[in-house]
């Protein structure tokens, strides 16, 4: 096989693995730029993966599945908002709750509805988003479009300007007569839509059914990518591609000896995104500065 073919194969594999990361990272970007920490990307993606697989198994329609998955993900985003915006609860605690809740409830309902140990039935190709002419499913192209859309909205629109402002100085937004609450709820809903698409991709495009805990930490990797990209759309997209590449390469490097180093343990490559994020956050390679008001519930002055 010549190098060009290998390079193209690796690129395709990277893009396929990176798609859920990209969608989650862009969703998380809206949430976190508005000042709401989103540890719950993982849970939203897992719950919507289950919803998509369940609906596709029952109706046979991938489009209905996508709609249902987005609805479930948005419902969880609203729950996060209800706890963090309306009731000013701890955002990390709420995110952790959503993750654990999704991990438990998907299997509980999976067993109740499909009696297969929490798995959903294997889907026929007609009920899935299959690869199109270019070799990628339509959701991969959606993810790329989402990156462009996110960049344009955040950098070029009035909503984006307000979004950035509310994450840095919510009091200023409030003083300008704009509702902090409504702005943040909208940001969370956008996040819900994107993570819903990510979950759909996971269970009915990349795979042909839902299985227990199938998101396997990808929501956290997306969060790491978002931080690695310093909460900006294009760098975060780049980080998703790098982390996706590591994942794609880890499979290829299994048992292969690299000249001068010897065999690289797969676990090392798998842990690399987390290690790199820790190193970045420690300020050893550049500096990642979070939105200033992140994690702080906004309390209106009377």
């Amino acid at each position: 096989m010549d190098w060009l073919a290998i390079a193209f194969q690796t690129f395709s594999a990277t893009l396929r693995v990176a798609t859920p990361l990209i969608l989650c990272a862009m969703g998380g970007l809206f949430s976190e730029r508005s000042g709401i920490i989103d540890v719950g990307l993982e849970g939203k993606m897992l719950a919507s993966a289950f919803a998509a697989a369940a609906i596709a198994a029952v109706t046979g329609s991938p489009w209905l599945a996508l709609g249902g998955a987005v609805a479930v993900s948005c419902a969880m985003a609203l729950l996060h908002g209800f706890a963090c915006i309306t009731h000013r609860g701890n955002q990390v605690v709420s995110g952790v709750a959503i993750n654990i809740l999704a991990s438990g409830l998907t299997v509980v309902f999976g067993i109740a509805w499909f009696q297969a140990g929490g798995q959903t039935p294997s889907l026929a190709n007609s009920a899935r988003f299959m690869p199109l002419a270019g070799g990628f499913s339509i959701l991969v192209y959606v993810a790329l479009a989402v990156v462009a859309l996110t960049w344009w909205v955040v950098a070029r629109t009035r909503f984006g300007l307000r979004l950035r402002a509310v994450g840095e100085a919510p009091a200023a937004i409030d003083a300008a007569g704009i509702s902090v609450t409504w702005l943040r709820y909208r940001a969370l809903l956008i996040c819900g839509v994107f993570t819903g698409i990510a979950g759909t991709y996971l269970s009915i495009s990349q795979n042909a059914n839902f299985s227990k805990d199938m998101s396997a930490g990808q929501g956290y990797i997306a969060l790491a990518a978002l931080i690695f990209g310093k909460w900006r759309p294009l760098p975060a997209f780049g980080a998703c591609l790098v982390f996706g590449l590591l994942d794609a390469v880890a499979i290829r490097l299994q048992g292969v000896s690299v000249a001068g180093i010897g065999e690289i343990p797969v676990q090392f490559i798998q842990a690399l995104p987390y290690v790199l994020t820790v190193i970045l956050l420690a300020g050893l390679i550049g500096k990642a500065v979070a939105p200033k008001a992140i994690g702080v519930p906004y309390e209106k002055e009377h």
């Binding site: 605690v93 991990s103 438990g104 409830l105 067993i111 929490g118 343990p265 676990q267 956050l281």
Partner: protein
């Protein structure tokens, strides 16, 4: 008029936490109904399965032990205003510390030397795995929540690598180390049987005693020492702590060490107490369970023991429940943990207005009565 009336203390520390937990269980009951089972039958089966006989009680208390350790770990960090989500990784690597000490020493020294060193190993590696995020937060400004999450995954990768490539017993098919027998903690059922009480075998071991000692230790440390006062000051108001002469950076690292050491002790219960060998995934779920326990127990050792007991009952009862009701598995317990974290943590203030209303009304009546009086 000041709308925020102060609630009586017993409402604040008694009624509201219970209301939060009841809300969580009410939603859990709805989920049980939704999957077509009877919540009442489920509770009956759960209690019989967790408290019905001495074996069940032993298992329940064995699970309780793990929750006490991780609950205390989260609570100690909370008191300093730190959120340690890394209990999962600290418990996992704590087990590695216990196991490495036992594997190195079990042929060399008697068990009364090997066991304390195993406990020390668990605490030390747990502390180290929490101290690094603590250091990075204090001195490098990286957010402890994110770093501890990342450290959970790094810990998992380290364990898989070590178990598959280094520590696996020669000739073993599954990634498990060789068994060490002399560094095993005494089992409670053996002790009780030796004393003449007839109880069934269970994995409950002396780690429970260690856990209860840790509760007393944390209670003394946080509420009855100058150090604990500093910790609570830091958690309450970091600026005030600085004015009071506290070095917040140093304190952050120390508190994370204590927190990580407590989480690491899960490894003592699992590795020295039950499995007597190193293996994979023995600590899964306890780190996150500890968050639920700490929130439910209001970060107080007594509350943590009660919350841990409840989660021990759920964990053991949930296993038995799945035999009676195949549609309800241990995953239901995971969902309940999520609900408890949601209602006791993120939505802790949800029932407050409703509970506040009657007291507000009473207080207004009382003021009205004194104004009208002579």
């Amino acid at each position: 008029m000041n709308a925020r009336t102060k609630l009586p203390l017993w409402v604040d520390i008694g009624v509201i936490p219970i209301a939060n937990v009841l809300l969580a269980f009410a939603v859990a009951g709805l989920v049980v109904l939704a999957v077509g089972a009877s919540p009442l039958e489920a509770v009956k089966s759960l209690i019989a399965g967790s408290l019905g006989d001495s074996e069940a009680v032993g298992y329940t208390l064995y699970y309780t032990t793990n929750f006490i350790f991780t609950g205390l770990a989260v609570a100690v960090a909370f008191h300093a205003g730190l959120f340690n989500i890394g209990g999962e990784g600290q418990a996992y690597l704590g087990g590695l510390g216990a196991g490495l000490a036992a594997l190195a020493l079990d042929h060399a020294v008697p068990s009364y030397v090997a066991i304390p060193l195993g406990v020390a190993g668990a605490a030390a590696i747990g502390a180290l795995w929490a101290a690094i995020p603590g250091y990075l937060q204090a001195y490098r400004g990286s957010h402890i929540v994110i770093t501890t999450i990342m450290f959970n995954f790094i810990a998992a990768a380290i364990m898989v690598y070590l178990m598959v490539n280094v520590l696996i017993a020669p000739g073993s098919m599954s990634p498990e180390s060789r068994e060490f027998s002399t560094a095993a903690l005494p089992v409670v059922s053996d002790i009780l049987n030796g004393m003449g009480f007839a109880v069934d075998q269970s994995p409950l071991n002396l780690s429970l005693v260690l856990a209860l000692l840790c509760c007393v230790g944390v209670w003394l440390l946080i509420w009855h020492t100058p150090f604990g006062y500093d910790v609570r000051t830091l958690g309450f108001n970091p600026n005030a702590a600085v004015y009071a002469g506290v070095d917040p950076k140093r304190l952050t690292v120390i508190v994370m060490c204590i927190s990580g050491a407590l989480a690491g002790l899960v490894g003592v219960n699992e590795i020295l107490g039950v499995h007597h060998r190193l293996l994979l995934d023995f600590a899964a779920g306890y780190g996150f369970g500890g968050i639920a326990v700490a929130l439910m127990g209001r970060n107080h050792p007594l509350g943590i023991v009660l919350a841990s007991l409840l989660f021990g009952i759920l964990q053991q009862g949930g296993t038995e429940l799945s035999f009676d009701m195949p549609m309800i598995t241990r995953d239901m317990v995971v969902a309940i943990q999520g609900l408890v974290i949601l209602f006791s943590g993120a939505l802790a203030n949800l029932p407050r207005p409703w509970l506040e209303a009657p007291f507000l009304w009473l207080a207004q009546r009382r003021t009205a009565a004194t104004e009208e009086g002579p």
